[in-house]
Subunit: 149 residues, 8 copies
């Protein structure tokens, strides 16, 4: 059994790398968005032509990125959504809602400060973790049945 896991949300810390490294040896297939911030912002205009208005510049990029996001969310068994300390991160919450409506198993990853603000998102999750290593522990338990010592 291969578990398909989509890693959504924050792109400014190395939480994805931690989870991927920690899951070494587990039968997991990871996917996620493009994490190069500049490329992600500009992909629309770089490929499809410049826009005068910032709104349409952003729009074109968000649409191209949606090709990847939808593929990842639609194919996933488990969607992990990480909320970091900075930024609005509405795209992360949007992905969580999208995944919830598709009936995906949601794991939300965030620090204690966001607890109240994320209560509706957490309420749709099967697990709420604060550390990437906990996500690894869940994946290991689901795939191997073993718990951390």
């Amino acid at each position: 059994m291969t578990l398909k896991v989509y890693l959504s949300g924050e792109i400014h810390t190395d939480w994805r790398d931690q989870i991927i490294a920690g899951s070494k040896g587990l039968d997991v297939s990871f996917s996620g968005p493009v994490t190069d911030h500049a490329a992600s912002d500009d992909c629309g205009v770089k490929i499809l032509g410049a826009e005068d208005q910032k709104y349409w510049h952003d729009h074109k990029g968000a649409m191209v990125n949606a090709i990847l996001t939808r593929k990842g969310l639609n194919d996933a068994d488990v969607v992990v959504v990480r909320f970091g300390d900075q930024y609005k991160q509405w795209n992360a919450a949007f992905d969580a809602g999208y995944a919830a409506a598709l009936g995906k198993s949601l794991i939300i990853l965030h620090g204690p400060d966001h607890q109240h603000a994320l209560k509706e998102v957490d309420a749709a999750a099967l697990a709420v973790a604060s550390e990437p290593s906990q996500v690894v522990d869940i994946l290991r338990y689901v795939l191997d049945g073993t718990l951390p010592a």
Copy 2:
């Protein structure tokens, strides 16, 4: 043709009242979350029993509120999601993602400051408005075929 419209998001300004008042005479059926902030936060423990931990206090409330939110989103033809100036509003973005995955027609309502941060949410919408009156104009056009003078 009755249009079922769910009004999601910000609960601290009167944007819902403006839309409902402006839509007088149109065949629209509105629904939305409980907008009494205290009741919304405490409904879980008030009904189902107190919790020592703030997390579970919040969780119980978010779950009870989800009964209403899901009913509203599932039944809606159009989901309007309002992002205000304050707070994280991750529940609003979650609702938008949930509605998008269900294929609902999304209208996002926010001021120009949020444009960049909401680009992924806006990209899933059929209309992005900045004023409640524009939402009314859309509903009138959809139902009556008439445009503002």
Copy 3:
């Protein structure tokens, strides 16, 4: 907004009557199984002909009852499942699983003794109550936004 509520599970106490009576004045449409135990057990053979084997006797009845159960579960916005003190009540847990897979909002109603044994069922619910009056409180909150004093 009419809320369609299916009342599944225990048929030997008056919990359904309590909920229906308590919900007077709310815009709720209730449905549920046939609660006449003898009729429920014998409906198959009474209508479609006797069976020599107890297994097929039971089977025919369960199938006829499924016409009603499926209609109720499929149409419901909210499914309340009551576990009483007696009997195996596997049909109640089956209904809960069926409703969960359909994405219905689940309310589970049971006493504290069943807490551990029902943990997987409770984990699929948006509310876990111990008293019928709490179900009424939830319905009132969802429909009217008011909480118990």
Copy 4:
């Protein structure tokens, strides 16, 4: 043609091993829950942190286990649900209902004593067996077209 079979229910006897051993040589891919009772009960708190209340202790574990159960049920062609002699086993009946709503082919496995109490569950099944070897016989027939001598 690989047949994906999820083995749900009782975790205290070796019925899963019997079916897997008996199916040697058949193109079947089996999955199932974690069958280490202690690990299954404690996985939530072991990974995500301790809880004071037994209810939330149980809840966290049930949620983490649901990641595995949902993956198994969603992917399966055939769901076998075993009811043993002991315990309430509401999770087994819940899985059966969940699988039924997804349109999975259900095989229910139980002794004659449970016949009446399981009639609604059996009524949703394509086969009701009393011995693990009968499940193997079904899998062999479905995959190879051969019947027991």
Copy 5:
């Protein structure tokens, strides 16, 4: 609760009239195909223009009739399929398969002679009756909870 019942199959006896008459007073909404054999055969060419080939003559009619059949099957809670003594009646079996795939509650109505030949169709049903009055008894039980004396 209104039960929507589609009456599929044989059009040469008065079984539909018997069921409709017997259900007087019950909250049932019946639908069914056009039962005028000549109109049903010729509707395509009468409306859309003559065809030289019998095959296309038949085809055009079958397509126009499918507008009604699909509407009836899609909307129904319960689909009753009657197999009479004559003709191939493949359209009846087709409707049964279509309804089964949609998860509709199936009632099959046929005499004892067809038992073996209809075993796969019966196996998808929640009730197999031999008389129209039994269908009425089922509808009454489902809607009122009362059994025949």
Copy 6:
């Protein structure tokens, strides 16, 4: 039984009026797009603000119109798509594809000149008519079982 019919396609002749007038007395509920060409083209910018680029001007309008189109197509039992003599009419073919994927009953209405070019669209239809009166004849047959004299 009310039949919900969406009338898609050409907006420059009175075919909708002919069908609606001809269906007088039948239990049909019609819907369709805004047929005021100028309003339809400009609704986006009139409501949501002007655009410098013609592409985004068009885009905003198409998106607002999609709110109405989707509602009509999603709710419809029958979708009639009319191809006239002029223009590209790709939106008509798009609606036909959209409706086909949703499993709606399609009626295509066009003159003989378009026969070859519309063969893939016609192949998805249950009826291909050349005159609005034929659509009325189909609706009457489906609802009343009567054929034109």
Copy 7:
């Protein structure tokens, strides 16, 4: 691209062998029911225990066979249904209806005598063939784009 093809219907001639042999070299994965008539009739009682009543004997077998049929129909891209000269073959028409409701591409295979009686079934098909070699020609065209000389 592998095309998954389920071969439903008649089990007394070698039409399946002809299609499989003719498709040699094409990227097709075939499946189908158990074609040993005696095994197919008796699989239920042989595995799950004898029945006194012929009806339940048949029923148990039909249910076990349904495990295979559903797997084949659910997984298929194309469903070929063959109607032979003999027997009622209601299971073939049932499979056709089931496949149609799932949106599968249907090919119906029958001789000219059955044309009128199968008109509703043919109307749901993308191709109606009279010879197994035509089915092979279709599969080759779909996979390789080549037509018979």
Copy 8:
């Protein structure tokens, strides 16, 4: 991650070859319709027998081609639809609508002349390109995260 891409629309220029050649080294699996115009037009009658009427000649071909088109559209993650300079191309717009209703990620490829006429189709797309190389750039970005220099 393999991306499944269906290339729909124009068959008279080498745009498919350009995209496939440009995507060399990317993990993409391409599919598309039969692009031999004569074969595509005549496949129905060549395989299933001649027709006197041009309409049925076309119809049989369109139906056989639909087996391939549906398989391609149903399996795809991304559907690229190319509108060329000539012909009505209603089948291209039909495919776009079909794909949109299935929630596929749509890329529309056309020159500036078609901008206004395609506005409803473009409005359903995640990207609107004018050159095949832009489609390659999108696929590379989605799969590798790299943008054109």
